[in-house]
Symmetry: C2
């Protein structure tokens, strides 16, 4: 369900490095060449290129990139070139440091990655920032958001398929009770969302729907603009339907006057090797226009070309 297009025969790593070096040097930068290489290599190939490049030229590839290009294009190429765990560590660090109630990046990372991926991100975070992710969140976020987000990123969820139906029933009831009393930041709501496995949570949400006649997210919409409730709904959407969650992020990034480039870049770079095909389908279905066309209409230049390459445009 990835959109990334890797050529049938990939050139030797040394050739890719050589071409990239040429793209950076001389009169002006060859942006098209950068895109044609990095925009068509998978994570393992990009890792090999970074290693070989640093060995061959005594300079980090990411360094050469930031020296030569800038703005949204730079951010897209850098984020894409990073390993998924490093990329998530960088995104999570930005989100923690400049945290605002409307920022959903931490939820996204905590709820749409596997347990092993989140742990790899926490390791990459140590490596890069000499602190832990939960330490930074706990130090920068306050109140109910801290109470929710710290355990959300710290948990190492069981990821087996087992579901305890009785537990799903009792916890659906418990969630309903707390929501009914508007106790949205109650310890039990947070405990359930931050510790149960994804299959268990999905069973709980389904039972909620069956037992109470409407989806849990409908009940969490009492005040549609409240950022804490929006965060709870985002958590539930990330678990239940990540493709539709990301479709909405992309839609909102594109909609209206001006584009939210950071969100658009994030969705495309983090999902191109995962489920961007599903997100594109969801987008087409919801907006009756292909995501590529919407992106092309809202962006321009090398940034546009880079996003379209990752979106799998031929």
């Amino acid at each position: 369900m990835a959109t990334l297009k890797v050529p049938a025969t990939v050139p030797p790593v040394a050739d890719d490095c050589d071409q990239l070096r040429k793209a950076f040097q001389g009169w002006g930068t060859n942006e098209a060449l950068i895109i044609s290489i990095l925009g068509h290599r998978d994570a393992a190939q990009r890792r090999a290129i970074r290693r070989a490049y640093a060995e061959a030229y005594g300079e980090e590839l990411l360094r050469s990139i930031t020296d030569e290009i800038s703005g949204d294009f730079e951010r897209a190429v850098i984020l894409w070139t990073l390993d998924p765990a490093e990329r998530d560590a960088v995104l999570a660090n930005e989100a923690a440091r400049k945290w605002k109630p409307g920022n959903r990046v931490l939820v996204e990372i905590a709820c749409t990655r596997t347990s092993a991926q989140i742990f790899a991100t926490r390791q990459a975070y140590h490596e890069r920032f000499k602190r832990s992710l939960e330490e930074d969140i706990a130090a920068h976020v306050t109140g109910d958001f801290r109470k929710l987000l710290v355990p959300l990123v710290s948990t190492y969820r069981y990821d087996g398929p087992e579901v305890n139906t009785r537990l799903a029933h009792s916890e659906a009831k418990l969630l309903h009770e707390k929501i009914h009393h508007k106790a949205y930041s109650d310890d039990e709501i947070i405990r359930i969302l931050t510790t149960r496995s994804k299959p268990q949570l999905i069973a709980t949400f389904n039972h909620y729907n069956d037992a109470f006649g409407h989806r849990i997210n409908k009940d969490l919409k009492a005040d549609p603009q409240d950022e804490y409730l929006r965060t709870l709904r985002a958590i539930i959407r990330c678990f239940s339907c990540p493709d539709r969650y990301f479709e909405k992020v992309a839609r909102q990034a594109i909609a209206g006057l001006g584009t939210d480039e950071n969100s658009l870049t994030r969705v495309i770079t983090t999902r191109a090797e995962v489920d961007l095909k599903l997100i594109k389908e969801a987008y087409q279905k919801r907006n009756s226009v292909p995501l590529e066309r919407a992106v092309a209409g809202d962006t321009s230049g090398d940034y546009e070309s880079m996003l379209l390459a990752l979106l799998g445009q031929e």
Copy 2:
């Protein structure tokens, strides 16, 4: 600083398995033989024995052990034979399921192991119990203890040596303030203890001592019998002086009428390959009697022999 004694030339794994099988079979069990083998093999050797034994006899070694021996001796041999991460997972599971405010096992595991060891335990927990450790703690523990213990086991602490002195000063002041107002379960106290790295915490505790004229643990002794305060003090002791923390657990297990075999077995099996030598030194210093002699005086039979073997007695 381990006490475990492994012979200079260890027999081939197949011979160890063969001997163990003989010890289990026939008329009565040869307990001395079990101790002479398993009580003198390190974690990697025991792992190799378990694997080879299961292959050779189509039965798990731990199964054969539980079929043949019982009581405190069985518990000591089983806990010892387990891999450290599996052993901690088993101990943590018992502690979570039968949790009582006086139970300090979760604190011990969360605060005296490295970040990588705790993560290995969380993985072993998934494997063995089909749930996550934090999930079980959150489901069984309530109130302030839950607020403290869930993040304590969930954190993946940064384990580099860097210390931020300014932060140590400001957080020592913050801890002092909260403790002064008896706000022992305040979010900030829990945040600091559950997210900062060990070197950072030790710098904070030292600064507390320097700035306020006495150790933080003295200020946390307002009500010496309060179990929540005892838990906070145990956390701080586990970070600052694990050998003296374990000395106290061993001392209290031995002291008085009757022995707390579970605690004694836990200290000896979990520390024999780590720092039991330091714990023995601390014990001798504090009680003017060698730990071996105290253990020999309070236990008997095969259980005694097993503990003494792990304590490094020739």
